[in-house]
């Protein structure tokens, strides 16, 4: 039995740990197109800012592969998967078709290749000093050129864009962000919450331009020196970061027979349409338990969980994925923000209750359907006990009995009926 994992992040680590709980003997191989020991991609903004040093970037300690008897193949890109011969075909990174033909056999395969940045066809996108912001090398390269950078334009004010802005401003780079939507963090927050975050960004000196887009990246020679917006406005800059979003990294399995929709479609065991081939993490399209639809939900906790479920099933276990839902925590300096579940309810049957204290930077919105919580937006001090709401969403606990207390800053177990409280606090979890 040979286990093969393509990818080397949260889902891969979860899979390795699960496989080794069931099977201590058979070989595990991890293939990565990066040169690094398993590390935390979300830390790249902290690395850029100087808040995290390189030795704190790793997700597992240096003995992780050795202790789990994992072979690693780094700096290689998988170009194809042959599901009939049970082989993957590798290329050296950046070598084009040279070196083609290196082949690795597998019995069980996990596709955990995550997401790749989406780059729209903006004129001038291939110029120097135009970066994306999802991996270690992005932060390292930006750091390398940063001493000659005074001004940056970030395209996209979503999660990745805000993390990039946080990193750039921390090292003294002036930032303008250009967002297509009417608000920042438009996919994670509602309008009122977004406005609080946008105000804090502006107070911190970031120029925020919404309802607009970059149509061209101009250059001097081949080096970016500015952008042109849809409304013809020009902004000079030395660096551009394209942070529009990520899409599942599925290009290399296009002709493999593995079913791909938006991501790699998986069942409740994280197995794809091809037997023995599994997918987990940002590349996978698994169940959203709140909408009952399959969709990629590219967040760290679900990647780790899905990796664990895939690994367990690959090695003879029978763990089942009960579904997940989107959630994210992002703090622009001074304004912590947490978004959980369905935050833009469409259709009938949703009820929304809101407490807006924008003047003090606090906001809380709760979304309910069929007497159950399905979503929450929290900004400012209200984030403190956010997880209780996450728990109520996950457990689908009826909340009607304490609905009027949900918006309280001090909402907690004393706000719930006694039997529910005792059930939650009185037993081993």
């Amino acid at each position: 039995m040979k286990y093969l994992i393509i990818g080397n992040s949260a889902a891969a680590a979860g899979a390795v740990e699960a496989i080794r709980r069931n099977d201590k003997r058979n070989s595990i191989t991890i293939i990565s197109d990066e040169p690094h020991h398993v590390y935390s991609r979300p830390l790249i903004s902290y690395l850029l800012a100087g808040h995290t040093k390189e030795d704190k970037m790793y997700y597992r300690d240096e003995n992780f592969y050795k202790e789990n008897n994992v072979e690693t193949v780094f700096n290689k890109r998988v170009t194809a998967v042959d599901t009939k011969k049970k082989q993957v075909i590798l290329n050296n990174k950046g070598q084009g078709t040279r070196g083609k033909g290196q082949v690795i056999d597998y019995d069980k395969l996990l596709i955990a290749t995550g997401g790749i940045p989406f780059i729209p066809p903006i004129k001038g996108k291939d110029r120097k000093n135009v970066y994306t912001f999802t991996k270690w090398s992005d932060a390292a390269e930006i750091l390398q050129v940063s001493k000659n950078v005074k001004k940056a334009v970030v395209i996209g004010a979503g999660m990745i864009g805000l993390k990039a802005i946080e990193g750039l401003t921390a090292i003294g780079i002036d930032v303008t962000v250009v967002e297509l939507a009417p608000e920042v963090l438009s996919r994670a927050l509602d309008r009122d919450a977004s406005r609080i975050v946008q105000r804090k960004m502006e107070e911190a000196g970031v120029e925020v331009i919404t309802n607009n887009e970059v149509v061209e990246i101009t250059g001097k020679g081949n080096v970016a020196n500015g952008v042109v917006l849809r409304d013809k406005k020009k902004i000079k800059c030395d660096l551009v970061i394209v942070a529009i979003g990520v899409i599942p990294n599925t290009v290399f399995i296009k002709n493999s027979g593995i079913k791909i929709n938006r991501g790699v479609v998986v069942d409740e065991r994280m197995e794809t349409s091809v037997k023995g081939v599994y997918a987990a993490g940002d590349v996978a399209e698994a169940l959203n338990m709140l909408t009952n639809e399959k969709m990629p939900i590219p967040i760290w906790p679900l990647a780790y969980r899905q990796g664990g479920i895939a690994g367990d099933n690959m090695s003879g276990g029978s763990f089942v994925y009960k579904g997940g839902f989107p959630m994210n925590s992002i703090e622009f300096p001074g304004v912590p923000t947490i978004s959980i579940g369905i935050i833009d309810p469409r259709g009938e049957g949703y009820e929304s209750i809101v407490k807006n204290d924008a003047a003090n930077g606090n906001y809380k919105r709760i979304i309910i359907k069929n007497e159950r919580l399905v979503g929450a937006i929290l900004v400012g001090a209200d984030v403190d006990r956010a997880g209780i709401l996450t728990g109520l969403i996950k457990e689908q606990t009826p909340v009607t009995a304490f609905k009027d207390k949900l918006l309280d800053r001090n909402f907690g177990f004393v706000s719930m009926p006694k039997d529910l409280r005792k059930e939650r606090l009185g037993r081993a979890i």
């Binding site: 949260a10 935390s40 991609r41 979300p42 830390l43 902290y46 808040h51 995290t52 704190k56 790793y58 997700y59 597992r60 760290w300 906790p301 780790y304 969980r305 959630m327 994210n328 925590s329 703090e331 001074g334 912590p336 947490i338 959980i340 984030v383 403190d384 006990r385 956010a386 997880g387 209780i388 996450t390 728990g391 109520l392 996950k394 457990e395 001090n410 907690g412 177990f413 004393v414 706000s415 409280r421 005792k422 939650r424 606090l425 009185g426 037993r427 081993a428 979890i429």
Partner: protein, 179 residues
């Protein structure tokens, strides 16, 4: 494993568990110094929830067997201790590796008990309340002390009985194993 369970019927919201917790997790292990002098001073890792009058309960980490906070932590600061540092015995506590924590609050978002505390209290002597810490301390840009840190119950690794349990005058906190 043995964790701390609250008994709301005999809790009287005296908050001595919080005082004991802050003291235990201070450098000096002296209550007055912990509250008034230490910088940074710890936060209480248990929280007395209260509806006045008559209902209160002290809530802290359940050390879940399938812990959502560990899953959510992308730095691996939040982790399960496999073997205790003291005696090398099997353990199961969920604890924070503080130098690795970057204060992203993913654990706070994930914890269904809401028992992970945000930020480290940076005191400036008298007048600041450790239960309601300021966000930033220090003067001048770049001179601020890092206050972003997740704090949670570690079941007092230096004690056989956690400090909060020992401090409770009414036995409203018990240290035991349940199913």
């Amino acid at each position: 494993m043995k964790i701390v369970y609250p008994k709301e019927e005999v809790c009287m919201a005296c908050r001595l568990c919080e005082v004991a917790c802050i003291t235990e997790h201070s450098k000096s292990k002296d209550t007055l110094k912990a509250y008034k002098k230490e910088n940074p001073a710890p936060l209480s890792r248990t929280l007395v929830e209260e509806i006045f009058p008559g209902l209160s309960v002290s809530v802290m980490c359940r050390h879940c067997s399938d812990a959502p906070c560990i899953e959510a932590c992308f730095t691996s600061a939040m982790h399960r201790l496999a073997l205790s540092e003291v005696e090398g015995k099997p353990d199961g506590r969920v604890i924070v590796n503080e130098p690795k924590c970057v204060g992203c609050w993913m654990c706070i978002m994930a914890c269904p008990f809401g028992v992970i505390k945000r930020n480290q209290y940076i005191g400036e002597g008298q007048g600041d309340n450790p239960l309601n810490p300021p966000l930033l301390r220090g003067k001048g840009k770049g001179q601020e002390i890092k206050v972003k840190l997740s704090s949670k119950c570690d079941l007092c690794p230096d004690r056989s009985i956690p400090a909060c349990v020992e401090a409770c005058p009414n036995k409203a906190l018990v240290h035991e194993e349940r199913n």
